[in-house]
C-alpha cells in the first residue's frame, strides 16, 4: 500500500512539472478564463443574471475546469505516443496508479483556479464574499475530478493528434449545456431535460448554489449526485481503457 502511494505521488509530481512548464496549459486554464471573467463582467453585467459575479465567478471556475480535460488528455496521449510510457510499464506501477497520478497532478491547478477566480471576483464585486466561497473551493475539487477523469479517459482512447478536437467537445458541452452564459429557463423542455441529465449544468448549479447558500438538501444532493455518478463512470472507464492500452503495448 505504502509503495503504491509512493508511486502515485512520484507520478503526480512529474505530471505537475510537465503541466506547469507548458505555457499553453497555464494560458488556457488560468489566463483566458480570468480575462473572460473580468471582460464579461464589465461588458455584460446587468444584462442577464448570468453575468452577476455571484453566478459568473463559480461558472468561470467550472468552465476553466473543462480545459483540464484537454490538458490531462493531451499529457496522456503524448505519453502514450512516445516510448516513455512503455518504459514506465516495465516498472511495477499499475494502471490505477497511473490514473491517480494523472488525476492528483491536476488538483493543485484546480485549487489555484478556484482561489484566483473567486479572489478576483471578490475584488470586483465584494458582495460575493461569504462562507459559500469556501464551499465552492471545496466542491471545485469534486467537479474537477469529473473533467480530469474525462481528460484521462479521452487521453487513453485518442491519439495525440485527435485529442484536441475530441476534448473541445467537452469544452463546447460545458459552454453550451451548462447554462452559464444564457438563462436556460427560456429553452424548450427537451433541451432543458438533456441539460439536467448531463454533468455540465449540474456542476455549474452545484457551484452557483454553494456560493448563494443551499436552500435545502435537494439543492445540494441532486447536482452533487449527478456529478459524482458521471465522475465514477469516467474514472472507471479511464482505468479500464488505460489498462487495455497497457496490455496492448
Amino acid at each position: 500500500m505504502r509503495e503504491s502511494l509512493c508511486r502515485i505521488y512520484t507520478l503526480a509530481k512529474r505530471n505537475v512539472k510537465e503541466i506547469m512548464r507548458d505555457p499553453l496549459s497555464l494560458i488556457f486554464t488560468l489566463g483566458m478564463p480570468l480575462a473572460m471573467e473580468i471582460l464579461f463582467y464589465f461588458l455584460f453585467h446587468g444584462m442577464t443574471a448570468q453575468f452577476d459575479m455571484k453566478y459568473l465567478a463559480p461558472g468561470i471556475v467550472v468552465f476553466s475546469q473543462a480545459f483540464l480535460s484537454l490538458f490531462a488528455g493531451l499529457l496522456i496521449a503524448q505519453d502514450r505516443s512516445s516510448a516513455f510510457l512503455t518504459r514506465l510499464y516495465v516498472s511495477r506501477a499499475r494502471s490505477h496508479e497511473f490514473i491517480f497520478g494523472y488525476a492528483l497532478s491536476m488538483l493543485p491547478l484546480v485549487a489555484v483556479q478556484s482561489v484566483l477566480f473567486f479572489v478576483v471576483g471578490g475584488i470586483i464585486d465584494p458582495t460575493i464574499w461569504s462562507v459559500g466561497v469556501l464551499w465552492c473551493v471545496l466542491l471545485s475539487l469534486v467537479t474537477a475530478l469529473f473533467y480530469v477523469g474525462m481528460g484521462i479517459l479521452l487521453g487513453s482512447l485518442c491519439t495525440e493528434k485527435s485529442i484536441g478536437g475530441v476534448a473541445s467537445i467537452v469544452i463546447a458541452g460545458q459552454s453550451l449545456l451548462s447554462g452559464m452564459w444564457f438563462p436556460p429557463d427560456g429553452l424548450n423542455g427537451a433541451i432543458l431535460t438533456i441539460m439536467r441529465c448531463l454533468p455540465f449544468k449540474n456542476a455549474t448549479d452545484l457551484m452557483q448554489r454553494a456560493l448563494a447558500g443551499f436552500t435545502g438538501a435537494a439543492d445540494f444532493f441532486i447536482p452533487f449526485a449527478v456529478v459524482i455518478a458521471y465522475t465514477v463512470v469516467v474514472i472507471g472507464g479511464a482505468i479500464f481503457a488505460f489498462a487495455r492500452k497497457m496490455r496492448a503495448k
Binding site: 512520484t10 512529474r14 512539472k17 510537465e18 512516445s82 512503455t86 518504459r87 514506465l88 516498472s91
Partner: protein, 245 residues
C-alpha cells in the same frame, strides 16, 4: 556460467500474424547477446514478452528462474529496457528524469545518489544535469534514455535498436558505453546494424519470420555461412538456407 534467461517454446500470435514461433534459447549471465533480423522478424515482440510488456500466446521464459508468465512482477524487478524510440520525460531536466525513475522504482535516497553518481560518470551527463531533456541533441537524449534503464541496476538489460537514427559519432560513443557495461549485467541487444553486432556481441542470434535461424559466436556464424563478415553471413542465412551452431 549459469543461464540468466531460459526461453522455452515462446510463441506470440496476433490476429492475422504469428510474430514469434516457438522460440527456445538460453542466454548466459553476463553475456551480451545480439538479436538480428529484418523488420518484422520478431525481435521487438520477443523483447516485449521478455520484459513482461506483452503476454506470450504460449511457452514461457525464465529470467533468473522467474517466469514471465506466472511471476511477471518479480521479473519486473530484474529487468529494464531501452526501447528503440527515445523514452524520456521531455519537460524534466536530466537530473529530474533520473530522480523520477529512481523514485518510481522505489530506490532509497542512498541507492538513488549512488546510481546517479555512476550514471553521471559513465555517460558524462553531469554537464547537462540541469538541462531539460527536450533541449538536448538526439544523441544526448538517447544517452539519457539508455542511462535511465540503468538506474534500477537491472540484472538483465534489453537494448532495442539503441543507436537507431544516430549519427556515426553518437553511435560510436554509445558503443563505448555499451562495451563498458559488458560483464556487469546480461545484455540483450537488437539491432539492424551488423557492424554493431560484430563489435559488441559475445553471441549472435538471427531471427527471420518469427523463428530463430542461427545462434552462435561470430566465428561460428562465419563458419556456418562461409562468409567473412556478419553482414554477408546474415544475408546468406536470411535469404538462403538456415543453420544452427
Amino acid at each position: 556460467m549459469s543461464a540468466a534467461i531460459e526461453i522455452r517454446a515462446l510463441r506470440k500470435e496476433y490476429k492475422h500474424l504469428v510474430a514469434v514461433k516457438e522460440l527456445s534459447l538460453d542466454i548466459e549471465e553476463g553475456e551480451l547477446f545480439s538479436l538480428l533480423g529484418v523488420n518484422g522478424a520478431g525481435k521487438t515482440t520477443t523483447i516485449k514478452m521478455l520484459t513482461t510488456l506483452t503476454r506470450p500466446t504460449s511457452g514461457d521464459a525464465l529470467i533468473f528462474g522467474k517466469s514471465i508468465v506466472s511471476h511477471p512482477e518479480e521479473v519486473k524487478g530484474l529487468v529494464d529496457v531501452s526501447m528503440q524510440e527515445t523514452a524520456v520525460a521531455r519537460k524534466l531536466t536530466v537530473e529530474e528524469n533520473i530522480d523520477f525513475y529512481a523514485d518510481l522504482n522505489g530506490l532509497s535516497s542512498e541507492e538513488k545518489a549512488a546510481a546517479k553518481g555512476e550514471i553521471f560518470d559513465a555517460f558524462g551527463l553531469a554537464e547537462v544535469r540541469a538541462q531539460r531533456a527536450s533541449t538536448l541533441s538526439g544523441g544526448w537524449q538517447r544517452k539519457l534514455s539508455i542511462a535511465l534503464a540503468l538506474v534500477t541496476r537491472p540484472k538483465v538489460l534489453f537494448l532495442d535498436e539503441p543507436t537507431l537514427g544516430l549519427d556515426v559519432l553518437a553511435r560510436r560513443d554509445l558503443w563505448r558505453l555499451i562495451s563498458g557495461l559488458k560483464g556487469k549485467m546480461t545484455i540483450i541487444l537488437t539491432t539492424h546494424y551488423m557492424e554493431e553486432a560484430e563489435a559488441l556481441s559475445d553471441r549472435i542470434g538471427i531471427m527471420d519470420k518469427g523463428s530463430l535461424r542461427f545462434v552462435g559466436s561470430k566465428e561460428e556464424l562465419y563458419a556456418a555461412s562461409g562468409k567473412a563478415t556478419v553482414e554477408d553471413a546474415f544475408i546468406e542465412l536470411v535469404s538462403g538456407g538456415g543453420c544452427h551452431a
